[in-house]
């Protein structure tokens, strides 16, 4: 057991190192950052001086070791544009992304579960089939396109909700969040809905499969025999039993919500990590790009490691296989 977890941890560390190599050589070695740092009419001496100041005149492996050394101390460089340390900059944008992803998760459950339960209940009728066809659209529609459509309908035509930006924020536990103010919440609805759509189709499919299975169980027959209304059976008895796998899957999907937030944040000009990444790519702000990539990889490695640990604890087969290998 412990051996397996240690192996897994070693693998995670190895992946992190591999990612460092890839990111460093990918982003740092393509083109010369000095070219965008100094004016084009700088003298060769000035260029030399700037190169030396940033350490670009040293051999590649020294630069890489320096990068790794600094990264281990939590220093991934200083943003060219904002002038702040890149890690700090990204962490200051993180709460906005996280609250958006969280509200997106809530929306996807609120939309997906009722639709899925209903589709499972009417599995062979046109209602069920219509919902399933609709979920195909939820999977295949481009995220940004949905966002645009929502803006066009609710912000431009109906003028019910604001189109872009973040709105009022309230300071909670030292973080500036908009989820607690009604104005801020208004700004969050459209982007969170956009982000939720893909996951909502996933939830719909999970809930449908779960409901179909649950409806054949004895407790449903018993509840029917007792004369409990169908609505109550569906949304009390069945729902309780299908929620656990849905919540597990969604918890695992939180990481991909953060990744998809890149697109949604750009559409709605939501000032989160994703928007910061895109802005940094357009302004060639390399330290921020590198820091974003490293932090996201770290988040994903932690999520994957946690998932593996939980599975190992829950599923003996994984444990046995891991020890045998």
């Amino acid at each position: 057991m412990l051996v397996f977890l240690l192996r897994r941890l070693a693998q995670s560390v190895f992946v992190l190192i591999a990612m460092m190599v890839v990111v460093f050589f990918g982003v740092y070695m393509i083109g010369n950052p000095v070219d965008i740092l100094i004016s084009p009419d700088a003298t060769p001496a000035e260029i030399e001086e700037t190169m030396a100041r940033f350490g670009f005149d040293q051999p590649v492996y020294i630069q890489f070791l320096k990068f790794v050394g600094n990264a281990l101390q939590g220093d991934l460089g200083r943003s060219f544009v904002h002038g702040e340390p890149a890690v700090q900059l990204i962490l200051s944008y993180m709460p906005a992304t996280l609250e958006l992803a969280l509200l997106g998760l809530i929306f996807s459950i609120a939309i997906g579960v009722p639709l899925g339960v209903y589709a499972g209940y009417k599995a062979d009728r046109w209602q069920g089939r219509a919902i399933m066809t609709g979920s195909i659209f939820g999977f295949s529609l481009p995220n940004f396109w949905v966002g645009m459509l929502l803006i066009l309908i609710f912000a431009v035509e109906l003028r019910w909700l604001p189109s872009t930006g973040r709105g009022e924020t309230v300071e909670v536990l030292g973080l500036r969040l908009s989820i607690f103010s009604s104005n801020g919440l208004q700004y969050m609805i459209l982007p969170a809905l956009t982000l939720a759509l893909y996951k909502a189709s996933l939830v719909t499919r999970l809930a449908r499969a779960g409901t179909q299975e649950a409806l054949m169980q004895d407790y449903v027959k018993f509840a029917r025999a007792k004369g409990i209304s169908e609505t109550r059976i569906l949304f009390v008895h069945v729902l309780k039993n299908i929620m656990i796998p849905i919540i597990t899957v969604l918890g695992l999907e939180l990481g991909s919500m953060i990744a998809f937030a890149v697109v949604t944040e750009t559409v709605f000009a939501w000032p989160g990590m994703g928007k910061l990444l895109i802005d940094s790519i357009t302004t060639l702000d390399r330290p921020v790009i590198v820091a974003y990539l490293m932090l996201t990889v770290l988040i994903f490695i932690i999520i994957n490691f946690a998932v593996d640990v939980i599975y190992t604890l829950l599923d003996p087969r994984v444990r046995v296989k891991g020890e045998a290998a």
């Binding site: 693998q11 992946v15 990111v23 990918g26 982003v27 393509i30 195909i136 659209f137 295949s140 529609l141 481009p142 995220n143 940004f144 396109w145 645009m148 459509l149 803006i151 066009l152 912000a155 431009v156 189109s163 990481g255 991909s256 990744a259 998809f260 890149v262 697109v263 750009t266 559409v267 990444l277 895109i278 790519i281 357009t282 790009i289 990539l293 996201t296 990889v297 994903f300 994957n304």
Partner: protein, 348 residues
């Protein structure tokens, strides 16, 4: 006893179909080579050959299963829609009123005209309006369709090729090699594809070739995993044992026997995967890290018009968006029908 024995010429239908599919495939490849290389027949002829070849390939794929495929009206609508969009993409040069990539044909005076207006000299009607540079949206959509489709199809095919090689090799080699290869695959699939693609494009910069490479890197692992699964179950079957018993060399067993049996499930997957790739490509282009500005795909057209949408000039991003929606939905629905028609699990 008269020796009146007639030997019928070989009309084994399976063999004829095989020949037909090879001829059609060769025609498609030849047409593509002529179009991309700018050699041989005139482009119009190459395009017609390409279209005929593609339709013939689809006909060979579905032979004897038309009734099953075309069950219900949605199959007809989706197929017709997909065929129309493919025709539009292939013949974009001939059909579009303007070449949107040729800056000499664009006039800034025609910028941001609403649908149905004419250009300054009244020689051209902009049926779907123009964008800020005076580019006809309809022409932009036709060319953009071509970019989106060709980038996605190329990336999907190459990724499939790599995935097939890696997957079959892993399944055949087994042991340590398989473990390492599948670990890499697992590792890559644990990251969302949009994130991987963003990382790559952030490092590569914009460009048609670069986005194809990024989309290949994003997808290959998915195919490798699928093919390995199929190949593992196929290697346990008797025909492989028989081939081994005949003393055939490994490469002949793999390429002649194993590979052909691993391909059919991939056809269905790759159809849907093309749609996913189009979505991914358009998302990247929308974010400004995809195709170059000079050759806009549908995603980039939408992004270009997006800034004007809030001021009511909806046509610049709305119509390319509708085209994107149509192509993605059509491919997905055809893919859905293909899965029901060709699914080996249902027919065996």
């Amino acid at each position: 006893m008269s020796a009146d024995i007639h030997i019928a010429p070989t009309t084994d239908p399976a063999k004829l179909w095989r020949i037909a599919s090879r001829v059609a495939g060769l025609a498609v490849v030849a047409a593509l080579v002529m179009l991309l290389g700018g050699v041989g027949l005139p482009p119009l002829w190459s395009r017609i050959i390409l279209l005929v070849g593609l339709v013939a390939l689809a006909a060979v794929l579905l032979r004897g299963k038309y009734a099953k495929f075309f069950s219900g009206p949605s199959a007809y609508v989706a197929t017709a829609c997909l065929l129309l969009l493919i025709v539009l993409a292939i013949f974009a040069t001939e059909l579009s009123p303007q070449n949107p990539y040729d800056l000499r044909q664009l006039d800034i005076m025609d910028g941001r005209q609403p649908p149905g207006s004419t250009n300054f000299d009244r020689t051209l009607t902009f049926h779907l309006g123009t964008d800020e540079q005076g580019r006809d949206i309809l022409s932009g959509i036709l060319y953009g369709l071509r970019v989106s489709l060709s980038v996605s199809i190329a990336a999907t095919l190459i990724a499939m090729l790599i995935g097939v090689v890696v997957g079959i090799y892993a399944a055949w080699a087994g042991g340590r090699i398989e473990a390492i290869l599948m670990r890499i695959v697992d590792f890559q699939l644990s990251f969302p594809s949009i994130l991987v693609a963003l990382m790559l494009m952030a490092a590569f910069g914009r460009g048609l070739d670069k986005i194809v490479i990024a989309l290949i890197i994003v997808q290959w692992a998915y195919y490798a995993r699928t093919v390995r699964g199929t190949a593992l179950s196929e290697t346990r079957k008797e025909y492989i044992d028989a081939a081994r018993g005949l003393g055939l060399p490994a490469w002949r067993i793999v390429f002649g026997h194993l590979l052909p049996n691993c391909i059919p499930p991939l056809i269905v997957i790759s159809t849907v995967q093309v749609a996913n790739t189009i979505v991914l490509e358009s998302s990247l282009s929308f974010l400004g890290v995809g195709v170059p500005i000079t050759q806009p795909s549908l995603g980039l057209l939408i992004a270009n018009g997006y800034g004007y949408m809030l001021s009511g000039q909806y046509w610049m991003s709305m119509y390319p968006g509708v085209a994107l929606l149509a192509i993605v939905a059509a491919i997905n629905m055809v893919g859905d029908r293909l899965r029901d028609t060709l699914n080996p699990r249902l027919t065996r």
